[in-house]
Amino acid sequence: MKTASTLATGRAVPAGSSPGLAARLQTWLPKLVLAPSVLISLCFVYGFMLWTFVLSLTDSRLLPSYDFVGFAQYARLMANDRWWVAATNLGVFGGLFVGICLVLGAGLAILLDQRIRQEGALRTVYLYPMALSFIVTGVVWKWLLNPGLGLQAMVRGWGFESFTFDWLVNPDMAVYTLVIAAVWQASGFVMALFLAGLRGLDDSIFKAAQLDGASLPRLYWRVILPCLRPVVFSAVMILSHIAIKSFDLVVALTGGGPGYASDLPATFMYAHSFSRAQIGLGSASAVLMLGGVLAILVPYLYSELRSRRHG
């Protein structure tokens, strides 16, 4: 091994060139490799964010223009009833979606970790929705949730005439149908994360706890789950970014309706920027959305960096 490396180094530094140059190159190389990606994110993430912020201060309509109007677009946004519906919906939808996915994902992972026959098949079944976009499954979900076609009609067909499941067409409940479909898509992935976490744990934890005579639920609640905190954190991050980006889901399932009862900020922003020729207003809503993302990401990064320093 040593000879090989030496040989390689010999090849890497041609005779005559100064060894200092090669060494300096080696220290610069990692940064050089990172440079394109960093440049990309500076231009295409931060540059575009800045651009969006600038547009939110203009009266851009059909296409971007640069006539500045101060914070007028934000004032209009604050006075817009639909924006508040969308923002509230994101809170309701995001909270329920993340919460249910975590509980369901952790539950399924724990159950699946009990030496289950056909574990591979079940795991695939739970995981596959993540492979499909709502462009593919949207129509089916619309059918299943439609009172006249889907579950309600089916259950009534089995003889339960009074069964009612009309959330899709009920302005107060439509946002919950979004939760159902979103949970269907992402909870399997969370299950996989938890399963991976459980498999990564040391057996000694289980043994020690069992010697203590802890009951099974207690074991999981008190000992195992706290060990899985990093998993919970990764899952929360992934889920909340899915929630914030949810767009196809709304378009396919409810179209934001009935009325605009199930609108989300992403669809609000898209509708105003692209179909309603109000790029200024749309940009203002995008900036507020990004603010929301920041509010979630900063604590994550903070704790991430802090734990690294400690560990």
């Binding site: 091994m1 490396s5 390689a8 180094t9 890497a12 990692p30 940064k31 490799v33 990172l34 394109p36 990606s37 960093v38 994110s41 500076l42 295409f44 993430v45 931060y46 540059g47 964010m49 969006t52 971007p64 399924l108 159950l111 699946l112 030496r115 289950i116 591979g120 079940l122 795991r123 695939t124 079944v125 739970y126 596959y128 993540m130 492979a131 462009i135 593919v136 129509v139 059918w143 076609l149 009609a153 269907w184 399997g188 996989a192 991976a196 990564g200 289980f206 998993v231 990764s234 914030i244 980006k245 767009f247 692209f274 790029i279 995008a286 959305m289 990004l290 993302v293 991430e304 734990s307």
Partner: protein, 292 residues
């Protein structure tokens, strides 16, 4: 693991039955939409309106699949979604390859050649995962125009690489963090260079995380509609755009069975990837990507 319920007392047996019942019930929930899709795609049109969603087809037919693949109209071209299928592959394969390679190198540079500010660089890049794609549509279009890449396949691949590299970097960084630094420092002492260490030491153990990264990127890019519709040319549209055109008719009779077959065809590659590589996916996640 010995933590499982093992002894066959009646109580334990009951518990075990309950566990299986819960798992089976969950499986039903996850399978329901897929079942409806498959059943519908195999029914003749008149059976769809007659029965409920889960009625088994009386005269199962493959005609909708054949039509969806090669005959259905997606605009003026009535060639089905088959042709667009290859458009998608032509976009996905380079984009996945490039973004995975970049992610691996980034993750490696960030963890094994740690320099001042590496964490900050990582935090900066991580933010790229979270930007809603609708926001960057217009500025990206303008940039592609400046680069002379608008409506081209290369442009679309570039966009996917740009917004995928944050994710792949995240995966690889979290994976490489868990690989002992000693191996790398020993090699450094031996005078091995940056790329050589990567190739000889990191890459051979990276298979699980490469699988995770490839699956994730493949799914994301294959399923993308927004970038595909906005940045592709008229002859390079991906299959999701064709599917959208097929399903969203504004007039005329909706052929639900063909719609469903087309949806299944469009979803097939990602489904196959998940079914075949699902095991490695979980294994790859176990191997470290979920840790801090």
């Amino acid at each position: 693991m010995d933590n499982v319920i093992r002894r066959q007392t009646p109580m334990a047996r009951l518990l075990r039955a309950l566990v299986y019942a819960a798992l089976a019930l969950a499986a039903l929930f996850y399978l329901l939409p897929l079942a409806v899709m498959v059943l519908t795609s195999l029914k003749p049109l008149d059976e769809i309106t007659a029965g409920t969603l889960l009625t088994l087809p009386e005269n199962p037919t493959l005609a909708p699949w054949i039509k969806a693949w090669g005959e259905a109209c997606t605009g003026m071209r009535c060639e089905g979604v088959g042709g667009y299928f290859w458009n998608s592959f032509a976009i996905v394969i380079p984009a996945v390859a490039i973004s995975t390679l970049l992610g691996a190198l980034n993750g490696y540079a960030l963890t094994k050649w740690r320099f001042k500010g590496a964490e900050l660089v990582f935090a900066l890049m991580l933010f790229g995962c979270f930007i809603p794609f609708q926001v960057i549509l217009l500025p990206m279009a303008q940039t592609l125009g400046w680069l002379g890449l608008s409506s081209s396949r290369a442009g679309l691949v570039l966009v996917h690489v740009i917004f995928g590299v944050a994710f792949t970097t995240l995966f690889f960084r979290n994976f490489y963090v868990s690989i002992p630094d000693e191996l790398v420092s020993a090699a450094k002492l031996d005078g091995a260079g940056f790329f050589r260490i990567f190739r000889r030491i990191l890459l051979p153990v990276s298979t699980p995380i490469i699988v995770v990264s490839v699956i994730w990127q493949f799914t994301q890019i294959w399923n993308d509609f927004l970038f595909g519709v906005a940045f592709s040319g008229h002859d390079t549209q991906p299959v999701t755009v064709a599917l959208n055109n097929l399903v969203n008719t504004s007039t005329g009779v909706k052929e639900y069975n063909v719609d469903m077959a087309a949806a299944m065809i469009a979803a097939l590659p990602t489904l196959v990837v998940y079914v075949l590589a699902g095991k490695y996916f979980v294994r790859g996640l176990t191997a470290g990507s979920v840790k801090g």
